[in-house]
Symmetry: D5
Subunit: 147 residues, 10 copies
């Protein structure tokens, strides 16, 4: 039975062979780079029609579109990630997590930023002292409520 991991491997093989970029795959999908990449890595589900566009665009078998549209089980095995690029993000949460909570709650009251009703953009910003990566996250503010 074809799994999301199988489809991710197929896509990685297409990328290696054809030099296709995530930006191009996002273009096929007509959706944002972060969302489409995460779906191709098995961490989100594509709407069925978008899945078909991606499968067709990359020349994947028909079942791959079905799989891309299935709801994923989001598993991350490393509680503390080891890859330096991902660890830096984890470290930011460790170092700034309480700060972020203080400021989110000062601005909105007791509540959280949703990670479900959520989107993100990632850009490289040219800079003469060294280029920078800019990450923009936007999540719905969800207030706790009394009952």
């Amino acid at each position: 039975m074809m799994t999301k991991a199988d489809v991710t491997e197929m896509i990685m093989e297409k990328k290696r062979a054809g030099g296709t970029t995530w930006a191009e795959i996002a273009n096929m999908a007509g959706l944002g780079e972060v969302f489409v990449t995460s779906a191709c890595l098995g961490m989100n589900s594509l709407p069925r029609d978008v899945a078909e566009k991606v499968a067709t665009g990359l020349g994947l078998p028909q079942e791959a579109a079905v799989v891309l549209a299935e709801y994923p089980k989001k598993m991350f095995d490393q509680a503390v990630p080891t890859d330096p690029c991902i660890y830096r993000l984890y470290e930011i949460v460790g170092v700034y997590g309480e700060t972020m909570k203080e400021l989110i709650q000062e601005k909105g009251g007791d509540g959280i930023m949703s990670a479900i009703d959520f989107d993100m953009q990632i850009e490289k910003i040219p800079n003469e002292k060294g280029d920078r990566i800019e990450v923009t996250m936007s999540g719905k503010f969800l207030p706790y409520r009394s009952w």
Copy 2:
């Protein structure tokens, strides 16, 4: 010996008593909210003159300014944070970490976004379907190099 934890508690007491906000403390400091809050929570060091402005502004003893200017040991005891507001940030790294790595590296080559040469802003954006929290991170791109 006065510690950063002692100073954080003093600041929290001032905030409780006087209703002072992080925004007002950042104002005293003349620096950004995220940075000043993280320094008051013991996760960053303030430049000495900034530390004095904060200590004076809040009516803290003189030694508190020295402590705010000392280099912190950044400890976060929970490998997986339990507070829902902070966990959601951790979850974003878990779910989107590999996606972020793919896109950072597609845009910049093999490398990482620095968590040291780094800054962050947090805003609440009014929205009729429910207000949103927007987090913007910017970190220098550091390429791996061959040697």
Copy 3:
């Protein structure tokens, strides 16, 4: 500086001395038992006026009302709880978690039940084969979305 743990201990002392029940404290608050109990245990914040009613009703010092109204940092130290009563709840999530995900998503599409926009009731239901505990949880369905 008075902490939420201090206030919890004060309330437990009042309960021991006076035999006050959680039901009676919820009554003072005019809110539900689960919510009020969780706030008294330091896991939720009471609206300021409700906090004052509880503090007055139990004969706590004025600062306790301020503390009950502060936004909590929700910490649970045991990733796997050891108390049998709490472990059984953890076990239910372990045994039925994937089942619950399958059914939530079959009914609502790819998404989750919110633990923030959430409420819960707990009742004892008399039963001649042995009384039963009934727990009812209600959380807003939050769909993942494409972007």
Copy 4:
């Protein structure tokens, strides 16, 4: 030797191919959705005659009915689940576990809610501010006893 994991995969394949829902499989079984789904996922055993109805209804080989009726070893590998939908349930136990224990014991005396003599229902409740998921659990109250 055919395992419960093998049977789960067969059922998932049937669902993908035929669009069968858990509700329809529960219907074949003549039992509740939560119980039947958990048995199909390998976390409970179906009575032998029910297992045969499910195997026949889905067109599975005869041995699958034997396997569905075998007593499972209930393994959950992630002490802290990472899938957001399941994590929220875990978080509820973390945040409200002590509250639930306080109230169960206030209502019934020193004891627990059984996770064995136990049942659960899950419904989606339409709501104009956003649909809600309602989970109802019922477990026998088991008192500790002196001896």
Copy 5:
């Protein structure tokens, strides 16, 4: 506020000073040794009248009886115990756990032995090849049920 740990320490001090045995304390209580010892160690609650007999018998302050009768939070911090005497018990569960499950379920069907509706005796049995410790546990069989 006097805690169960405080009362345990008082009892240990009485035992050290007076050479009182657990058997004698169980005698004061009129209940079994295992149950009374576990309650004195803070892992079970004594019925109120029994608690008073123990407190009086040992010359403890009146509040100690209240505390002995309170419902405990059962915490065991070492997931894997290190004391050799306790580790051997843990090892028995590790080595024989699946065996015990196989036999409990062969004898009773799919179900468990309750650890709540449960009692235990411990005896030393003289034996010329070396004395033996005999532990007898009895727990209600709880069958899983379909619903």
Copy 6:
């Protein structure tokens, strides 16, 4: 090379096919149920002649008898077991471990109950309030000694 896990799987297949019980296999062996079951699950070694009786009785290949007689490496991967039937046993050690140590040592002096020179019986005891499982463990008392 045939492993103990291979032999366990063979035995489980015979049990599924022929409805053989552990009691019947223990009968073939002429030894107790707990011991024989644990050896069939790979956690103990059968004496060579007993191993041959079991292999013959179940119709296993000759090498299986050799394997059943080999000394096992006793591995249990879950430090905290998740199956409810096994977890309850673990919980008993967690809740009553210190109690058991206190009583073993009050009766025998500083020492332990051996888990090596050890045996166990498991019975289902009919009871009108609900059948009970009775577990009897007997281990040699091993005193610590000075040197």
Copy 7:
């Protein structure tokens, strides 16, 4: 209430002040260095008369002798020790553990070396290529038995 940790600290203070060695304390006790040191560190109990000799010899209060004679709870908090001197011993178990099991069982049959009926000596052996530490352990062979 005086604990074993308190007595250990008293002994360490005496050692620091008076330059007393473990060898001298073992001499006072009339028992071996390893055993006496381990008892002074709280990991074994001294016979009552030996405890009195040690307490008198070191000038400790009378209660210290009672405490040295009490049965310890053996706790070691670091599952993996970090001190290099202790880690090397742990590493030897990790690297040679299976080898030791193979040889113990080749020589004695299925069984173990007891850590309870056990003694140990530690000597420094002069050697012109660099002195060596020699550790000799002797434990009773305990065979598994069938039942």
Copy 8:
């Protein structure tokens, strides 16, 4: 590519088929039992000529000698071993580790016993009260030094 694990399995198969003992294999090698066994289990490297003698003596393919001579990566997956025979060794380090450090350092100054420049013997010593296992370890004393 043939691995050390492959060679270990080959040797175990030869031992099962031919009843060869570790003592006989050590004899083929002309080196000590502990060292040769550990090398056959993949935890040490044999000198090339010794490896050839072992491979020839056991009738292994030529590549096995190459593999036995390769430098191992010493992996032990269980931080806390579960096999009772190996756990007892781990327990000895836990219970006596600090004692051993105290005595090594009292005899030699601040330093450690090397686990690299190290050897070990294991013998069974007949004893009428029950045979004993004697383990002798010898490691070079490595002093810390100032610089």
Copy 9:
């Protein structure tokens, strides 16, 4: 799809068959030993032209060069490494980590040594008291900054 692990295995096989050293492979690459070895072990990416030289020099298939040039996911599975050679390095970080931080920050102000803009050399230095290994690390100093 050929992975970095596949290529590492190919290289190890070439080394075993041909006796090629890391120094020779570094020579083919025209880069340093540490960097080239780490890339061959899958922990760094080689520039494309360098990867081709290595693949050609070792007689690997063309796809191997593509794989060697891909950006790695740096995974290290053991939080605490067990191999003695690697553990010593980990221990140095544990023992000297805070020291290194103190000195790096005394020399450069609040900041870190980059592990990305980083290089390392390893040499064996002959010494009549026993040869020494010399490791030299150089990483860019990255100061924290206020914003």
Copy 10:
């Protein structure tokens, strides 16, 4: 009883009050910066006469010199360090650990670099593209040996 942690705190207080640097303290000691700093942080022992020079130079009580000369127990509590400056060093061990092992063993045969007979220097090297930190480690090569 004065502990190494007490002495570390005294030294940190002197540094805060008097602006003394580690370089100056190393000067008082007449030994290297890394070694002296690590001893002041409680991770190494100073020779007695050196300890007295440091205590005198910093104006510490006499007992502090005794404590600085005592052999430490090297404890590092965080298996994975969180401070970014220390984490980078840990990451280097994770990423390059196997590489370092390969090269140490290629240059010296099967063996390790000692962390005991070991020294280290840390320098800041001015560089117009950004200053660099240079760390040089030197440890005795310890070969494994056959026996």
